[in-house]
């Protein structure tokens, strides 16, 4: 094997800043998509448990359709398929402000919102029904019961599965490279193309993802302990 290692392409020369730029874009993309996913997930997850059939049906359609189709297809759909149908002004604004990024963010957020929804629904369903009934008996409306009783409890119950879902979102942000969002995997690939240093580039990219994921997982274990409801859930095993 006559491969000559040259790790300096990662931090010097033309390709020097690319990894960091990619990391910044990955984080930006993931954080925005996560906010969208959490919002969609909480609303649709709650809607799937309410006593009104129409709302339940809407939420079920959203969840079942969006999470059962590959993210890549959604990326292409939002990036290529939707913009031509938008009003002229919106389309121009998007073209001026980085259409790939927003399409990718939207695809990632809507897809993971559907997956997050399932996590939140199972959290809500694990709360004893009597909590809801007690809230109504205290004179809260259904909406108030969800807002001040059910959802706060559910969110504390679902920290572990929501964490692993959030990490999935972070890892899946790499799919945005297919619509030319310059995120981490895209930049890794770019370094490989320009310098032909494939092993160095992919090692660095892989390690960054690994450190991010393991780091977040460790932090969230702490958070989980802090937010656990004492005496309610059996820990471990």
């Amino acid at each position: 094997m006559s491969y000559k290692f040259d790790w300096s392409v990662l931090w010097s020369g033309e390709s020097g800043g690319w990894l960091l730029q990619g990391l910044a874009t990955t984080l930006e993309l993931s954080v925005l998509a996560w906010v969208l996913a959490a919002a969609l997930g909480i609303v649709s997850g709650a809607m799937r448990t309410v006593p009104w059939r129409l709302l339940r049906g809407l939420a079920t359609f959203y969840v079942e359709f969006f999470r059962n189709v590959p993210l890549l297809v959604w990326m292409f759909f939002w990036y290529f398929g939707v913009p031509p149908l938008l009003p002229e002004a919106v389309r121009e604004w998007l073209f001026d402000h980085g259409l790939p990024f927003w399409a990718g963010m939207f695809a990632l957020g809507v897809y993971h919102g559907a997956r997050m929804s399932e996590v939140i629904r199972s959290g809500i369903q694990s709360i004893p029904r009597t909590q809801f009934e007690a809230s109504l008996a205290m004179g809260l409306t259904t909406f108030q019961a969800y807002r001040v009783v059910i959802i706060p409890i559910a969110l504390r119950l679902i920290v572990p599965p929501a964490t692993s879902e959030s990490l999935n979102l972070l890892k899946n942000s790499s799919v945005a490279l297919t619509i030319s969002v310059a995120e981490l995997t895209f930049q890794t690939r770019q370094i490989e193309t320009y310098t032909a240093k494939a092993i160095e580039a992919f090692t660095a990219g892989t390690l960054i993802y690994l450190v991010l994921c393991v780091g977040i997982a460790i932090v969230m274990t702490r958070v989980e302990r802090r937010f656990a409801i004492p005496g309610l859930i059996a820990r471990g095993g």
């Binding site: 059962n68 993210l71 297809v73 290529f80 899946n172 790499s174 992919f202």
Partner: protein, 223 residues
């Protein structure tokens, strides 16, 4: 506006070539997904059993394997095999081989975790009772633990199979002609992205949703 003729005219290419893989190109979502699911699961059984092994020399590498692959994106794994393995081995590997290898290696980590959780879900007393009856460790595993473990695993297994089925769309990144790539090819000629991508979304949905319905039937079956 919506032009469905593009779907009618290219239906054969999208479904026969893209989904089934019967056509001029080496391709097909199913031709990739089915072996990937089977091999990934088989490999995953070994990974899961290795994680439970008493010898640390076996369980530690298996744990590292699982934690590593669960911490990196699948796209990255595909690129490793696509760009680096041919350089090291000095032989070109066709897209199909790259994609299949990447999926099996990657998904085995996830299947391994499911197998491990399934085995751990069998109450300890079952193993003790089997030992008391004079079964060897291998017999205990074969006749007592695995039959119960597999039943517990079915829901997560099917979920993971659906995930893997959807993930096969990523093989289109390296040029493998699956359903997603077929839609891209048609779109390059016809420029009807909205219709085409929505159509393949529905095709994927029909496949994954029917998989989940089959799973639901299994779950309902009394143990």
């Amino acid at each position: 506006m919506l032009d469905l003729s593009v779907l009618v005219n290219n239906f054969t290419f999208l479904i026969v070539q893209g989904l089934l893989g019967l056509g001029g190109f080496t391709g097909g979502t199913l031709r990739l997904a089915v072996p990937a699911i089977v091999l990934g699961f088989v490999f995953g059984i070994f990974v899961g059993l290795a994680r439970l092994a008493r010898a640390r020399a076996i369980s530690l590498p298996a744990t590292l394997y699982v934690e590593f692959f669960r911490g990196v994106p699948l796209v990255m794994v595909i690129f490793w095999i696509w760009f680096i393995v041919p350089q090291l081995l000095r032989v070109p590997i066709p897209e199909y081989g790259v994609a299949l290898t990447a999926f099996v290696i990657f998904e085995a980590a996830y299947f391994g975790e499911i197998v491990r959780a399934g085995i751990q879900s069998v109450p300890r007393g079952q193993v003790e009772a089997a030992t008391a009856l004079g079964l060897t460790r291998a017999q205990t595993m074969r006749f007592v633990v695995l039959p119960q473990a597999i039943r517990n695993m079915v829901p997560s297994l099917v979920t993971q199979m659906i995930v893997l089925f959807k993930d096969t769309s990523l093989a289109s990144i390296i040029g493998y002609v699956d359903l997603t790539k077929a839609a891209q090819i048609v779109n390059n000629r016809e420029i009807r992205p909205f219709e085409l991508y929505l159509f393949i979304a529905v095709v994927y949905w029909v496949c994954t949703y029917s998989m989940s319905q089959v799973a639901r039937r299994f779950e309902r079956r009394p143990a």
